[in-house]
Every structure is written in structure tokens, then in C-alpha cells.
């Protein structure tokens, strides 16, 4: 179920909220867990079993990690340490194993088969369970936090399951660490103010997703439909810009909706985006983009590998690992690896050479970032390597097949999308957020958010009657 669907907005959410609010506080976790499983199960009737299995296995291993046999033993400490290691090892094998099988198996096998020259391993063509990358990372973070003793109060089964499955962040994050919700998990009061503010935040996120991301997405689709390889250089850049807007507002909108829902449920879900497009370097961009993922990789990969404390060669290697994995986390294909490694290259260069200099000069830094980011998103967006090459060539003004999509189409695109593009530019600045916080209790803002909500619903309804609204032929 998507947040931006009639089923969620007018069926699941109202029914769930009523039940959630009327049950006594001590049953809220159970209700939230049950509701989340329904939420997930509606879209993934089979993979919900995988989710439940993963939760049970991880919980069992998290308990086994600290299990102590009753009878007296020799080498008690040594054995306990061994047990902890074993539990962690099994959990990592299970979690990443499942992730690998569902997400990376085919990619790996195709490459192995390609290298070997024949089919030595079968391609499975499994569907990807919704949200597996997110919930796997969340479970691993809990297990590692337990292992390192960072969890002050370990979760009970219901608490752990609720923490993993909580519907606001189950499908697309933010990747919440248990420490961030453990207090509220044990006890939370839901004030009517939280419902009010949560709902406002939700409407804002819904608007970002439906009214900005989905709409500007059609421009990107239109340009891709014409086909990379024959795009005028400006059209190619316009397409890259449109995609940059789309992916940002889509993901940001989703994260804001998650925060809003979290608030309504009595949680505080951390923010995931902090005006990333106003960064002055790529390193800064990644501190502001998908913050919870960045910090996951920092906490659980980069620092355990030694971070920057083991000499500069090792630092570069660590960065390489982190960025290769970040790339692959986003998708199992070469372009994602390339995308990740592109960040590795740029961020390493920034660290070693021009980073300081560029961050000092604000104008230059902004220009540098705004020029580079659309290029990275093109690498992200186009999975077919040959098409990717053609598109990047077009962006550089190189055309092997002639320009078919030129100024004539450009004029039309600009005419059709000028208002939307201006709106997108406004929303990548920090101002809308500031205005929101400043005026969110004023009547005009309340009415504006109400308008946004119903406008979004209208678009969703029109779009779901004709699921191809955004692909209007």
C-alpha cells in the first residue's frame, strides 16, 4: 500500500487511527504491529511471511546473543563472547543472505555466467520484496547495536517487531535506529497536538510527492520517451534537472509523510533530508541527502572498517567500500555501482584537494554541486549502459545519431512545465520549510495545507482511475 493511494488515505489510515487511539496504551504496540502487517500484507501477501520470519529469526538471535546457561560453566566469559559472535554472524548471514538472494542473485549470476561463457548458475527472476533493503538494514543495525552494547534496554518481541514493521517507515525508510524510538516504544502519550501537527506534515509530504514529484516526472518521461542519443544538449540537461527534482521530491515527500505519520502515532522519526540541493560540495550533499542511510553506512561500515584512523591509504579503501556498497544498495546493476563509485571518486578528490576551497566560496560551491548532481542522477536513472552513455554524450553536446529532439520540442517543454519548474526551484531552497514552521498554526497556512491535501487527493483519484495519467499519451 502506498501512502499516496486512496486505499491508504481513506480506508487504512482512518480505521487504523481510530482503533489505535481508543485501545488502552499498553496494547498500542500490538495494534501498531498488526496494522503494519496488514499494511504490508495487502501489497505483498506472500512476502509478509518473509518479513515475519526475518523478524522472528533476528529477534531469536538477538536473545541468543545474551543468553546464559543456568548451570555453572568453565570459561564463562569466553563462551559468552563466542556466543555473541556466533549470534551476530548467523544474523548477518541470514539478513544479508536473504537480501542477496532476492536482490542481487540475478545480477551476480548473470555476470558470472557471462564471464564463464555459459549458464553455470540459474537465474531465479525473483520479485523483490517491498522494503527489504530498508528493513534488513534496520534489523542489522539493531543486532549490531546489541552486539556493541549500545542498546540500553533491549526490546521484547512485540517491541522489536513493531520497531521493524512500523508502517510509516517500513517500505522506504527513514532507517530508524532502535535507540531513536526505544523510549517511545515503551511508553508514549499521544496528544491531540501531535495528531494535528502530524497530519499537517503528512499533507505537506503528500503534496511534495503528488503535486511536485509525480508531475515533474512526466517531463523526464517525455524526454526519455524521445530517446537518449538524439537529444539537444539543453533538452538533455532539462531532462536531468527534471529527474533530479522528481527523485528528490518523491523521496523527501515520502520521508516527510513518514515523519508526519510517526508523529501521529506518538513517535519521533528522524528527518531524512536537509535541503540537499543547497549543498556546496558533494560530501555535504551526502550529509544532507538520505541522512539515515548515510549515517548507517558511517556507523556500521565506515567506522568499523577503521574510518580515517588507519592512514590515508586505508581511508581511501574504506571510502571505496562504503560507496560501492551505497551504490549497490540502491539497485543491482552496473550503473548503480558506477554511480556509487562516482561519488567515491568525487568525494575522495574533494577530501584530498579542492573540497575546502570550494566550500569556502559559496557561489562556486553551489554551482559545482548543482552541475554535478544532475549528472549523477542520470547515471542512477538509466540502467542500460549504452543508453546511459548516449545520454551523457548528449549532455556533453556529443551526438552520433543527429539531434532529433531540438529547440522546437524544448520550447514546448518549457511552455508546458515552466510553472512547475519554478515551483520545484523554490522547493529546493530552505524557504518553504521555514515558512511552514513559522506559519503552520496560522489560518492561511492551515487552509493552504487543506488545499494541498485535497488537490493531491484529486490528482490521486484522477490518476488511479486512469493509472496512466502521468503517462498521458
Amino acid at each position: 500500500m502506498l501512502f499516496s493511494s486512496v486505499g491508504f488515505l481513506f480506508r487504512f489510515l482512518p480505521i487504523f487511527m481510530i482503533v489505535y487511539l481508543i485501545v488502552p496504551a499498553k496494547y498500542r504496540n500490538v495494534i501498531l504491529l498488526a496494522g503494519s502487517l496488514v499494511f504490508y500484507g495487502v501489497g505483498e501477501p506472500y512476502f509478509v511471511l518473509l518479513l515475519v520470519l526475518s523478524v522472528l529469526v533476528n529477534f531469536a538471535l538477538s536473545r541468543y546473543m545474551f543468553w546464559e546457561p543456568k548451570s555453572p560453566q568453565n570459561n564463562r566469559k569466553k563462551k559468552a563472547a563466542k556466543r555473541r559472535k556466533r549470534a551476530l554472524f548467523l544474523a548477518l548471514i541470514f539478513d544479508f543472505g536473504a537480501l542477496f538472494v532476492f536482490k542481487y542473485w540475478d545480477f551476480a549470476v548473470e555476470n558470472v555466467n557471462g564471464l564463464a561463457g555459459n549458464r553455470i548458475l540459474p537465474v531465479l527472476s525473483l520479485a523483490l520484496p517491498l522494503g527489504i533493503s530498508f528493513y534488513t538494514f534496520q534489523m542489522v543495525s539493531y543486532l549490531l547495536d546489541c552486539y556493541w552494547g549500545k542498546v540500553s534496554k533491549r526490546a521484547g518481541l512485540i517491541e522489536f517487531a513493531t520497531y521493524i514493521c512500523m508502517f510509516p517507515q517500513l517500505i522506504a525508510g527513514p532507517i530508524v535506529r532502535y535507540g531513536e524510538v526505544s523510549e517511545r516504544m515503551a511508553e508514549r502519550r499521544i496528544r491531540i497536538r501531535d495528531l494535528e501537527n502530524g497530519l499537517k506534515l503528512f499533507a505537506a509530504g503528500l503534496g511534495l510527492k503528488v503535486l511536485l514529484a509525480n508531475q515533474i516526472g512526466t517531463l523526464w518521461n517525455t524526454i526519455m520517451t524521445a530517446g537518449p542519443g538524439n537529444l539537444h544538449v539543453i533538452v538533455a540537461w532539462l531532462g536531468a534537472l527534471a529527474y533530479s527534482f522528481q527523485i528528490y521530491f518523491d523521496f523527501w515527500g515520502y520521508s516527510v509523510m513518514a515523519m508526519g505519520l510517526g508523529k501521529m502515532l506518538g513517535f519521533r522519526i528522524p528527518r531524512n533530508f536537509d535541503d540537499p540541493y543547497t549543498s556546496r560540495s558533494i560530501a555535504e550533499f551526502w550529509r544532507r541527502w538520505h541522512i539515515t542511510l548515510g549515517s548507517w553506512f558511517r556507523e556500521y561500515v565506515y567506522i568499523p572498517l577503521g574510518g580515517n584512523r588507519k592512514g590515508s591509504a586505508r581511508t581511501v579503501f574504506n571510502l571505496f567500500v562504503v560507496w560501492a556498497l551505497t551504490g549497490l544498495w540502491h539497485g543491482a546493476d552496473w550503473n548503480f555501482l558506477l554511480w556509487g563509485l562516482g561519488f567515491f571518486l568525487v568525494i575522495s578528490l574533494e577530501k584530498k584537494t579542492y573540497g575546502k576551497w570550494i566550500e569556502q566560496s559559496s557561489v562556486l560551491g553551489h554551482i559545482y554541486t548543482l552541475l554535478l548532481i544532475p549528472v549523477t542522477w542520470i547515471i542512477f536513472a538509466i540502467t542500460d549502459i549504452r543508453q546511459l552513455g548516449a545520454y551523457l554524450a548528449n549532455m556533453a553536446g556529443i551526438h552520433t545519431g543527429g539531434v532529433l529532439v531540438g529547440t522546437g520540442q524544448l520550447v514546448r517543454y518549457l511552455k508546458d512545465y515552466s510553472f512547475l519548474l519554478i515551483a520545484c526551484v523554490i522547493f529546493i531552497t530552505p524557504f518553504p520549510k521555514k515558512w511552514y514552521h513559522k506559519w503552520k498554526d496560522r489560518w492561511f497556512m492551515i487552509l493552504f495545507l487543506l488545499l494541498i491535501f485535497w488537490w493531491s487527493v484529486y490528482e490521486i483519484v484522477v490518476g488511479s482511475n486512469n493509472p496512466f495519467l502521468y503517462f498521458r499519451f
Partner: protein, 371 residues
């Protein structure tokens, strides 16, 4: 004490106007609109609207026999009551020709596989009947139809082939008096085929239902919305190419579509008595885009294509099927030719240009083979 409680509660409520507005408006909206609410009334719009002359004809035919009488203008003229005021008398000789040339011939071979929309079959059929030289015949290849439970379409159980005719090669000026009416795919033809002399009236999301309405259509050369009714009455066209049906896949049903198509063609015929009307097949979608769970699939597209192909009379209305150029052996749009599974990449429109050039009809000597 309890008064204090109520007071607190009211204060709280007063402090969250947004919550109240959303909840109240949602309740109202859910009661009023069944798109988001609980379906209180089952609006069966399509059932009401399909009671129509053409609908009856189609249903009668389908019940009786496979052989289809042509849906001709005069036939509808006789039976249709609502549209008569716009009808111009159709010339005598046209009616005569229609009696034989406009007949639809059903092939006896049954293609078992629903998806086998391939060109081989088409070629074989063409060769087989070439001696007969039945000019102006639009053939339908039957196959075993699938059971479809959809209010939007059914499986036509046949594939419409390009109207048989000794088409000629278009010369440079051929398209100078042509008009193209259509949706985003026609916009693609405008953008990438490069028929500079022709007028293009098309918009994303255009449907046969909207084509002649007051909202107008964008004339691509100027970028301005024009009222096509007016344009077609004022200007003179020798050829009119139409391609509409994609945005109708999830609207109304095929009978409504056909009825509307027919009335639009009649309307255009009335305003442009000399124009040759080319009804172009809607391009199929890719395997990836083909979704049997929605109405968005090639069976539905084929249903629409068969419906509009039935309007072709082989005299001044022709049906052109460009699908074989772009589809694979199962009738899916080839994946490497498209990004979204619906539209061709710009570079593939060359083929379409070739197809249009090869399918010219010379009005002056319709009986002679000029190749």
C-alpha cells in the same frame, strides 16, 4: 470536575483546526464521492450509454455470424437519429461501390494463439487472395478470443489488417494537403517523421471523444489551441489521418469508442467531402507495459483497432496498420524501441515515415494500379 474535562477537551479541539477540517471534509467527501468513499450507489454509466444504434448493430452481428456487414455511413444515416442534421448526402457512386468493395471478408483459418499477430500470417493471406484483387477490402484474421471480464473491452477475436489496395508511393507534395489528428503518438509523428507540409492537430491525452469538442486541439505548427470543428469547415484537406484510441482504453467501452469514432468520421466527411480518411491502427504496447489486470493491454488495443477498422470502406476511408513494423512475433511493441513501452524512440519514426509514404492513395484514379 467533568465540566472541567469537557472544557479541556473543547480547548484541545479548538487548538487543532486542521485535524478537524481534514476529518470533517474527508467524511463529507467519502459520502459524496464514491471514488474515495464507500460505494453507496453503483453508477453503471457505460450500460446506460451503450444503448445505441451502432451498439445494437454490433451486438446483433456478434450473436449471429462471423461475417460482418460493413458499418457504412449511409447505414448509420438511416438508423441513427441524433446525428442526422450534420449529414451531407453521400454520393451515389460511393454507395454503389460500398456494396461490394466495402465488404469485410473473414478468413477461414483460425489462428489459435491469441498473440500471434505476426506479419507472416498477414503475408500468406495476402498472397492467397491476390488473384482476386479485391481492392478496398479490409480483412480480419480471426483467432480464439480470451474471456475478458472488463467493463471497458472484450477480446475482439480477430485482427484487422491494412485495407487492401494498390497503394502508391507518395510524392513530395502528397502530404501538403494532409491533416493528422491524434494523441501523443501523432505528436511523435509530428516531431520525428518530418512531414513538413501537413497540419498536425494533436495533444497528449487526446481522445476521439474530445477531438471535436469546444476545448480544442493544439495545432502544432503554431502551438495554439484551435477548434477543430472550425478548422475542418474552413480549410480544405485531401487526406486526413486519424490515430486515436490509447486514452480511450480505460474510458467507456469499445462500443462507445466505435460509435464516437463513426460519428467523428461522419462529421469530418460532411465537412471534407473530398478527403481520403486514413484510420491508423493504435500501436501496441510492450510486453512490460502490457497488463492484463488493468485495461491497459494489447487485447484492448486490438479491440479498439478492430472497431475503428470496421469503418474503413476501401474507397475513401482506409485502415492502416503499422504495428507489424514495430512489434515482435507475439504482437508486443519491441522493448528496445521504447522507453515507456508505449511511445517509440525518436529514431524509429523513420520507419513510420516510410510506411506512410508507401501507403498513398491517389484519389483521381482509384481503380488503377499505378505501381
Amino acid at each position: 470536575m467533568s465540566r472541567q474535562k469537557i472544557k479541556n477537551w473543547l480547548e484541545n479541539v479548538y487548538n487543532c483546526p486542521y485535524l478537524i477540517l481534514v476529518v470533517v471534509s474527508s467524511v463529507v467527501a467519502m459520502l459524496c464521492f464514491d471514488e474515495i468513499g464507500i460505494r453507496l450507489f453503483d453508477h453503471n454509466i457505460s450500460a446506460e450509454r451503450t444503448v445505441s444504434v451502432v451498439g445494437d448493430i454490433v451486438r446483433a452481428e456478434e450473436n449471429q455470424t462471423l461475417a460482418e456487414p460493413p458499418v457504412t455511413l449511409e447505414e448509420v444515416q438511416n438508423t441513427e437519429e441524433t446525428e442526422t442534421e450534420n449529414q451531407e448526402p453521400v454520393s451515389e457512386n460511393l454507395q454503389e461501390t460500398n456494396e461490394n468493395a466495402g465488404e469485410r471478408k473473414e478468413e477461414t483459418d483460425i489462428i489459435q494463439n491469441t498473440e500471434e499477430l505476426n506479419t507472416d500470417a498477414q503475408e500468406a493471406q495476402t498472397l492467397q487472395i491476390q488473384e482476386e484483387a479485391q481492392k478496398g477490402v479490409t480483412r480480419f484474421l480471426p483467432y480464439e478470443p480470451l474471456e475478458i471480464e472488463s467493463r471497458y473491452y472484450s477480446d475482439a477475436g480477430k485482427i484487422a489488417l491494412t485495407t487492401e489496395y494498390p497503394y502508391t508511393l507518395a510524392n513530395d507534395s502528397y502530404f501538403n494537403d494532409a491533416a493528422f489528428l491524434g494523441d501523443s503518438r501523432t505528436l511523435g509523428i509530428y516531431d520525428y517523421v518530418g512531414l513538413d507540409g501537413a497540419d498536425f492537430f494533436c495533444d497528449n491525452g487526446m481522445t476521439i471523444f474530445k477531438l471535436l469538442k469546444d476545448d480544442g486541439v493544439t495545432e502544432q505548427s503554431t502551438g495554439q489551441k484551435v477548434d477543430l470543428k472550425q478548422v475542418l469547415q474552413e480549410r480544405h484537406y485531401g487526406k486526413i489521418y486519424m490515430m486515436l484510441g490509447m486514452n480511450e482504453l480505460g474510458y467507456g467501452n469499445t462500443t462507445m469508442y466505435m460509435q464516437e469514432y463513426l460519428s467523428v468520421v461522419q462529421q469530418i466527411r460532411a465537412w471534407q467531402p473530398d478527403a481520403i480518411i486514413f484510420i491508423m491502427a493504435n500501436l501496441h504496447v510492450s510486453r512490460e507495459k502490457n497488463n492484463m489486470e488493468t485495461e491497459f493491454n494489447n487485447i484492448n488495443i486490438n479491440d479498439k483497432n478492430v472497431a475503428c477498422a470496421r469503418l474503413a470502406n476501401g474507397v475513401d476511408i482506409f485502415y492502416l496498420d503499422s504495428n507489424p513494423m514495430f512489434t515482435d512475433s507475439e504482437g508486443f511493441l519491441q522493448a528496445e524501441m521504447t522507453f515507456d513501452g508505449v511511445h517509440l524512440y525518436a529514431k524509429h519514426y523513420d520507419k513510420w515515415r516510410q510506411f506512410l509514404v508507401e501507403h498513398a492513395v491517389e484519389k483521381e484514379s482509384p481503380g488503377e494500379v499505378t505501381e
